[in-house]
């Protein structure tokens, strides 16, 4: 079986490599890898340049490879059937599953080749850029962006009692308006209230303060430098401005007052003093807003976090490319499945539409869920059958395929955050699971389908 799968995989790879499509794709990728960093400018700092390279360039390359993968995989089986080449293969002692898997493995090899090219290009471009960086810049980048930092969030705020109270009030209000809610909408309402509560708690008015507690991980080691990341916004006035004072302490009483400037409206990185960083200790962070100033708001999830160096940038890049590879593998399986059921143009349309809806359906549903939270007195829209069916379909699609297609590692990579082995493993599990289902369904259909007219 393996030999036959390998034969079909080699054929698929050979066919793609010798086609003009791949040449066009390679030229486009090359143009993008070189051209985009030259045309898209960040703030001009080296960190910004690296961010552009990692997020936008790699992101665009990912999108191009994704679209190409979908189109090529849709053609994999459908064009063999339409152009009747499948007849010569199907009369040989080869199972339909071997044909399907061979095509899939061929696509995987192609994706791996393209990602290796993209990865090497990124490394080459970073190497080329780094020639103009001074040692201090190199050190700073190796601690901020070109690194794999694990984030440790502060202990969560306990808002459960207040959340339940406000949730009941909101449900009663909706009921009074004579409207019904779906389970998803109720979930969205609860989420929105929770977010609003956390935001309210995260708002610090002049003259008051706010504290966070972060548990330093047990496995944190001295050779892995730690830093605190702080990000907040003023409610009014100049965005990039200083507000109040910050201090740090541990439960043993040792503490320091920040001497560095902590500026609103941008990410602040505060390297932690060695004497404060003890594995297992609790780090207390206190902010006192200056009297007579303006209120500031802290994002409930990302305002304050501890970052611990976990791995090198190379590790992060490889893990990130592995996650992208998994996504592409899933898209290949999806395209092949679509091509098994439909002709090439139809398969391409269906696959593209489903992938688009799966990746963006979440946003449609979020806006739909928030519609329930319309203010008192505003006449709510009646939900038609068409509306309900559409919502159910988008929700179903989003739930089935969304988690698989929304695997993303680029934001983390470009911010120096760890793309963990866990996320790679999760991506692999998702790909294997979903692909197995697609393979079984496609093979059953293919074996029952007449391959000649």
């Amino acid at each position: 079986m393996i030999r036959r799968v390998f034969a079909v995989a080699t054929l698929t790879l050979r066919g793609t490599i010798r086609s003009r499509a791949l040449v066009g794709l390679a030229v486009l990728l090359l143009f993008l890898m070189i051209g985009l960093p030259l045309t898209v400018k960040g703030s001009g700092s080296p960190a910004s340049d690296v961010h552009v390279l990692l997020y936008y360039t790699l992101g665009c390359a990912w999108v191009i490879i994704m679209v190409a993968t979908l189109f090529i995989s849709c053609a994999g089986i459908s064009q063999d059937i339409e152009q009747e080449r499948i007849r010569l293969v199907a009369v040989k002692p080869v199972r339909k599953s071997e044909i399907w898997l061979g095509k899939w493995f061929g696509m995987l090899t192609l994706n791996a080749l393209l990602l290796v090219i993209v990865g090497l290009s990124i490394v080459g471009l970073l190497g080329w850029k780094s020639r103009s960086w001074d040692p201090e810049t190199k050190t700073r980048l190796s601690q901020t962006v070109l690194v794999a930092n694990r984030t440790v969030p502060p202990r969560p705020e306990d808002v459960s009692d207040e959340l339940e109270r406000m949730y009941q009030i909101e449900l009663d209000r909706i009921k009074e308006q004579g409207r019904s809610t779906t389970a998803f909408q109720r979930k969205r309402i609860r989420g929105s209230i929770r977010h609003a509560l956390l935001t309210a708690y995260a708002q610090v008015s002049p003259g008051s303060g706010k504290s966070w507690q972060i548990d330093i991980p047990q496995e944190a080691k001295g050779e892995n430098p730690m830093a605190l990341h702080i990000n907040f916004s003023p409610l009014s006035g100049e965005i990039r401005s200083e507000h109040g004072s910050w201090s740090l302490s541990t439960e043993r009483g040792t503490g320091v007052v920040f001497e560095d400037k902590i500026v609103a409206g941008m990410g602040n990185r505060i390297p932690l003093p060695d004497d404060l960083v003890r594995p297992g200790a609790t780090l207390n962070i206190r902010f006192e807003n200056a009297a007579g100033g303006t209120s500031v708001v802290f994002d409930p999830e990302t305002a304050v976090e501890l970052r611990v160096r976990e791995h090198s940038f190379a590790w992060n890049l490889v893990c990130s490319l592995l996650v992208i590879f998994c996504q592409l593998a899933l898209l290949s399986a999806f395209g092949l499945a679509a091509g098994t059921f439909f002709s090439y143009p139809v398969a391409t349309f269906v696959a593209t539409a489903i992938v688009f809806l799966s990746m963006t359906g979440h946003y449609f549903v979020v806006s739909e869920g928030s519609d329930v939270l319309s203010p008192v007195g505003v006449q709510p829209r009646e939900q038609s059958v068409f509306h309900a069916v559409g919502e159910t379909m988008v929700l179903g699609l989003e739930r089935i395929s969304g988690p698989a297609l929304r695997l993303s590692s680029l934001a983390k990579l470009s911010n120096g955050l760890l793309v963990s082995l866990g996320s790679v493993f999760y991506a692999i599990v998702v790909v294997v699971g979903y692909s197995a289902v697609l393979t079984v369904i496609s093979c059953i259909y293919l074996s029952r389908r007449e391959l000649a007219a």
């Binding site: 036959r4 054929l11 009747e84 080449r85 007849r87 010569l88 009369v91 002692p93 391959l451 000649a452």
Partner: protein
Amino acid sequence: METLNAGNYAPLMVEAKGLVKVFRDFWRRPKVRAVDGIDFNVGSGEIVGLLGPNGSGKSTTIKMLLGLLFPSEGSVRVLGESPQRVTARQQIGYLPEVSELYLFLTPRETLDFYGRLFDLKPKTRRSRIEQLLEMVGLTHAADRQVGEFSMGMKRRVGLAQALVNDPQLLVLDEPTAGLDPPACRQVKDTMLAMVRRGKSIVLSSHLLADVESVCDRLVILYNGRIRAQGSVKELLTQSDRLSVTMPALPPEKMKSLLQTLRDHIGEEPQVEHPSLDLERFFLNVIEDAGDSQLTGAGHHEGIARYLDGTQ
């Protein structure tokens, strides 16, 4: 698997019973009854020709033999098994009506790919590929992409891939379509050589001369039904007529002979000089022109090597 076939006990390569194929439209409504209850067998070591005009059901029948189409009714067994089974397909070689090959592959890569699907060992595969390329006269173009080939050359690649597994049953759909006369002769020689080695062939064609010159038995289809079936000799012999071939006689002796014949049969006998068929005449001309490659001198060596190699 021993079944009565054409008056002899012989293992059956193909056994079709009550075969029906109805094509349906999108709404599953019957559209065309392409094959309408046909029964026929193919024994070991014989060439059976499926004859009929376009749309008579030949290709549909062949596709059902190969498992590419599923019968609406009836059953078909190939080498004693359903053609859907992988083991049955291990012994089948197929040349479709149009050789839809992977145009980006070279003939050598094409044969290697199909050889891999048969799980042939690398050594066997390599030697067989060289024999087949020599047999079909494509050694010189073995590393050019098939997309650059003429229709005839593609046909040769198609024939070579049909033989890559040294099949027990060869199914050829219009094998000489698009080929020049020497290549047609090569195909027919290959068929005859295969049959001498005990292989069976199902040949579909509407070229009557081709079928007549190689087939042992004929199945004539029209509108999806069998209209005549039997050995070529049985079907074509006019048992109430007789032709005699003899050296040409001087006019006086001929006149006397004709008079004697007239007295015995009571009608005017037809007298004419026998003639070569056009294909034989054309090949003689080419042979005289000394182009051994075109006429298949190399081809005959190739067949011999292929057959030796596969024994």
